[in-house]
C-alpha cells in the first residue's frame, strides 16, 4: 500500500491578530505531486511549515496516512523538507550533509555509505562527496539539499520554492529532473511556488491559495480550462477577464451583456444572474477581419502586436472599451494583423466561461499584462 497521504482538516494558523491559514481543507494522495500555488502572503509557506512541524496549528488537524501529527515534533515525522535557501550545513562536506539524517537515526555506517552514494548518484553528484557547500553552484546545492532529504526515504517531501534562486534555463532543467525523481521514487511531493507556469508543468494537482484560504483544487488542465473563481482565472495565465451582466440561462448557454453587446457564454456557472465576470483564454480568441459577422463577435482595433518568439500576442481594444489578448502561434503563415487594424474578435461560446460573482472586496488581482498597457495607451493618446 502506498504511504504518504496528507490530510489537512480545517487547518488554521494565527500569528497574533493575523490569520495566515484560515481553516483550509486539502486531501493529498499518496505518491502525488501536489503544488501549493499563490502569491506571496497567501499562506502556502505557512501551510508547508505546519505540515513539517515548525509551526503549531491554532486549530484543525494534520493527518499523515490517517494519523494525527499534532503531538509529533518535526524530527519524528516521516516528512522532510527542502528549504528555499537549501540550508546546507556549511561546516560539513556534501557527504556528511547527506548522511546527517541517517546518522541521527543511528543507521549503521556501511548502510549509510551505501545509501548516500546511491542518492548522490541519483542526483548526478556522485563525485562531489568531499566538497563543501560553498564550493558548489546554486543548482548543485539544490540537488544536495534534495539528496539530503530523499536519502531518508520520507513518506512526504516538502519543497519550499526550491528553484527560486536559479536562472531560467537551469530552473527548467531541474523542473524536469525533480518531476522524474518524484515519479521514480514514488514519494508524495508537496511543492510550494508562486510561479504558475512551474506549477502547471510539474503537478498532478494544484491548490491555488489566496489570503489564507484555498480558492480551488484541480489538475493543471482543469485549473487552467475551468477556473472556478476570478482569482484563479487571473492568476494562471492570461484570462481576458471581462465584467458582464448575466441575464440567465438560454438554452445550453448563459446570456451575458458586455456594454452594448450580447454574448452567449457556454461554460461555467450558467445559472448566474447579475454582475459577474467572464473569462476566455487568449488561445481561444479568434481574430477575424472587420467585415466578418456572426454571433459572439465584438469589433475592435489591434492596439499592439507583441512578439513572443514562438507565438504572437495581439492586444485588441474592443468597442466596449475592454482589452483582450489573443494568442496566435507563428506557424509560418504571414502575419495578417498589424497595429491599428480594425478587426472582429470572435469569442466562441464554448470557450467563454462564466464565473460566479466574487464577494465584495475580493477583486481580481492586477494583471501586469493588461492594466498598465491600457493606461499607457491612454497616456500616449492624450500626450
Amino acid at each position: 500500500m502506498k504511504t504518504g497521504a496528507v490530510d489537512l482538516v480545517q487547518l488554521r494558523k494565527d500569528f497574533g491578530e493575523v490569520t495566515a491559514v484560515d481553516g483550509i481543507e486539502i486531501a493529498i494522495e499518496a505518491g502525488e505531486f501536489f503544488s501549493l500555488l499563490g502569491p506571496s502572503g497567501c499562506g502556502k509557506t505557512t501551510t508547508l511549515r505546519l505540515i513539517a512541524g515548525f509551526e503549531r496549528p491554532t486549530g484543525g488537524k494534520i493527518l499523515l496516512d490517517g494519523v494525527d501529527m499534532a503531538a509529533t515534533p518535526p524530527h519524528r515525522r516521516k516528512v522532510n523538507t527542502v528549504f528555499q535557501s537549501y540550508a546546507l550545513f556549511p561546516h560539513l562536506d556534501v557527504f556528511d550533509n547527506v548522511a546527517f539524517g541517517l546518522r541521527r537515526a543511528h543507521v549503521k555506517k556501511k548502510e549509510t555509505r551505501e545509501r548516500v552514494t546511491r542518492v548522490l548518484e541519483a542526483v548526478q553528484l556522485g563525485d562531489y562527496g568531499k566538497r563543501k557547500p560553498a564550493q558548489l553552484s546554486g543548482g548543485q546545492q539544490q540537488r544536495v539539499a534534495l539528496a539530503r532529504a530523499l536519502v531518508l526515504e520520507p513518506a512526504v517531501l516538502l519543497l519550499d520554492e526550491p528553484l527560486g534562486a536559479l536562472d531560467a534555463k537551469l530552473r527548467k532543467a531541474l523542473q524536469i529532473e525533480l518531476k522524474s525523481i518524484q515519479e521514480r521514487f514514488g514519494i508524495t511531493f508537496v511543492y510550494v511556488t508562486h510561479d504558475q507556469e512551474e506549477a502547471l508543468t510539474m503537478s498532478d494537482r494544484i491548490a491555488v491559495m489566496s489570503g489564507g484560504h484555498v480558492e480551488q483544487i484541480a489538475t493543471p488542465q482543469t485549473m487552467y480550462d475551468e477556473p472556478e473563481t476570478v482569482f484563479v482565472a487571473d492568476f494562471l495565465g492570461v484570462s481576458n477577464l471581462m465584467q458582464v451582466t448575466a441575464e440567465g440561462p438560454e438554452g445550453v448557454a448563459c446570456r451575458v451583456k458586455v456594454g452594448a453587446f450580447e454574448l452567449a457564454a457556454g461554460c461555467g456557472e450558467l445559472g448566474v444572474r447579475g454582475e459577474t465576470h467572464v473569462v476566455i483564454r487568449p488561445e481561444r480568441v479568434v481574430i477575424e477581419p472587420y467585415e466578418a459577422a456572426g454571433a459572439n463577435r465584438v469589433p475592435g482595433m489591434v492596439e499592439r502586436v507583441v512578439y513572443n518568439g514562438a507565438s504572437e500576442q495581439l492586444v485588441i481594444r474592443l468597442a466596449t472599451g475592454t482589452v483582450v489578448q489573443a494568442l496566435s502561434v507563428r506557424d509560418g503563415t504571414p502575419e495578417k494583423w498589424t497595429q491599428g487594424t480594425a478587426v472582429q474578435a470572435y469569442l466562441p461560446a464554448e470557450a467563454l466561461r462564466v464565473l460566479p460573482p466574487s464577494p465584495t472586496g475580493s477583486a481580481a488581482p492586477a494583471t501586469p499584462e493588461e492594466a498598465p498597457e491600457a493606461d499607457e495607451a491612454i497616456e500616449v493618446g492624450a500626450g
Partner: protein, 291 residues
C-alpha cells in the same frame, strides 16, 4: 591670498589634508606608547631621560626587574588569573544569554534585553560602588580575587552577548530547522549545527573578554583587598607618580604585547575558521564593532 581662500573654502574636500591629518593622529596616538615601551629598556632609573639600552628592568636586575620583583610578578599573575576566570565564566553565561535573548520572543525579552544593555552604559564607578556596597553589607563577600572575578564577569557578560547575538542573527534559524527536519532533537541541532557555526564568534568573545579584563581598572580596584590582589593597571595607578622605575614600563609593556598578540591571533583564527562559513561578515568588523 586666493589660494589660501580656496583652500579654506574647501578644507574637507581635500583628501590630502585629511589624509595628513589622519596620519598625524595615528602618530600622536601610538608614538607615546611606543616611547613608553622603549623607555622600559632604559639603562638608568629614569622614565623620562634616556640613559642607554639595557634589559635590567626586564630580567637583569635581581631585585627590581619584572622577572624578580615579587610585586611586579604578582601584579602580572593576578591580571592573568582574573582574565582567565573572567573568560571561563563570562563567555558561557554570555553565550547562553545571547541564545535566550535571540530565540525567546516572549514578554520577558524586552526587560532582559535592557538589563543586559545597562552595564554597557553605566559608568564604571557607579557599578564599582554598587558592587562594593552590596558585597560589604548584603552578600558579605570579602574583597579580593573572588570579588574581583565577580565584578569583572558582571560587566563582561554584556559584551559577549552583543558579539554572539550579532552572529546569531546572521546565521538565522534555518540550519537548525533543517537539522531537526532531518531527525535531530533540539539539543542535537544546537550541538551539531549551531555550535560549530558559532565557534568563531565564541572565540572572538573569549579574546574580547580577555582584553577587557586585562585592561580593567575601576571595578578591579574597588574589589581588591591588598597588594596581593593588585593587577597591572592598579599597580600603574599606585606608582606612576612616585618613584617607579622603568620596570613599571616593562610590566605594562608585557600587558600590551599580551593583548595585541591575542587579538592578532584571534583575528587570524577567526578568518581561517570563518572561511567555510556563510558569507556576510568581516572579522575585522566584528572585532572593531565592539565598542
Amino acid at each position: 591670498m586666493r589660494r589660501v581662500r580656496d583652500w579654506f573654502a574647501n578644507p574637507w574636500g581635500q583628501p590630502r589634508f585629511l589624509g595628513a591629518f589622519t596620519w598625524l593622529y595615528m602618530i600622536w596616538s601610538i608614538v607615546p606608547v611606543i616611547i613608553a615601551i622603549v623607555f622600559s629598556f632604559n639603562n638608568g632609573r629614569s622614565r623620562s631621560v634616556w640613559q642607554g639600552f639595557s634589559t635590567r628592568w626586564w630580567w637583569g636586575d635581581p631585585y627590581n626587574s619584572v622577572l624578580h620583583d615579587p610585586v611586579l610578578r604578582g601584579a602580572l599573575e593576578q591580571s592573568l588569573r582574573l582574565a582567565g576566570f573572567d573568560m571561563l565564566i563570562a563567555v558561557p553565561i554570555g553565550v547562553g544569554l545571547a541564545l535566550g535573548l535571540t530565540r525567546w520572543r516572549g514578554y520577558g525579552n524586552r526587560p532582559v534585553n535592557y538589563l543586559m544593555l545597562f552595564p554597557l552604559v553605566t559608568p564604571e564607578i557607579v557599578m564599582a560602588v554598587s558592587l562594593l556596597l552590596v558585597f560589604d553589607h548584603l552578600y558579605h563577600v570579602p574583597f579580593g580575587t573572588e570579588a574581583q572575578i565577580l565584578g569583572q564577569v558582571t560587566f563582561s557578560i554584556s559584551y559577549v552577548v552583543i558579539i554572539i547575538r550579532g552572529r546569531l542573527l546572521s546565521i538565522g534559524p534555518e540550519y537548525e530547522e533543517a537539522a531537526r527536519d532531518l531527525g535531530a532533537s533540539q539539543l542535537g541541532a544546537f550541538r551539531l549545527v549551531l555550535l560549530p557555526l558559532l565557534a568563531p564568534a565564541i572565540f572572538a568573545s573569549l579574546i574580547v573578554v580577555f582584553a577587557l579584563s586585562i585592561d580593567d581598572f575601576v571595578v578591579t580596584q574597588y574589589m581588591s583587598a591588598n597588594q596581593q590582589t593588585q593587577t597591572v593597571p592598579i599597580l600603574i595607578y599606585q606608582t606612576v607618580r612616585g618613584t617607579a622605575t622603568p620596570a613599571l614600563n616593562a610590566v605594562a609593556s608585557v600587558m600590551v604585547f599580551a593583548t595585541l598578540s591575542t587579538v592578532a591571533l584571534a583575528y587570524l583564527v577567526y578568518r581561517w575558521a570563518a572561511r567555510s562559513q556563510p558569507a556576510g561578515h568581516s572579522a575585522l568588523g566584528d572585532i572593531a564593532g565592539v565598542t
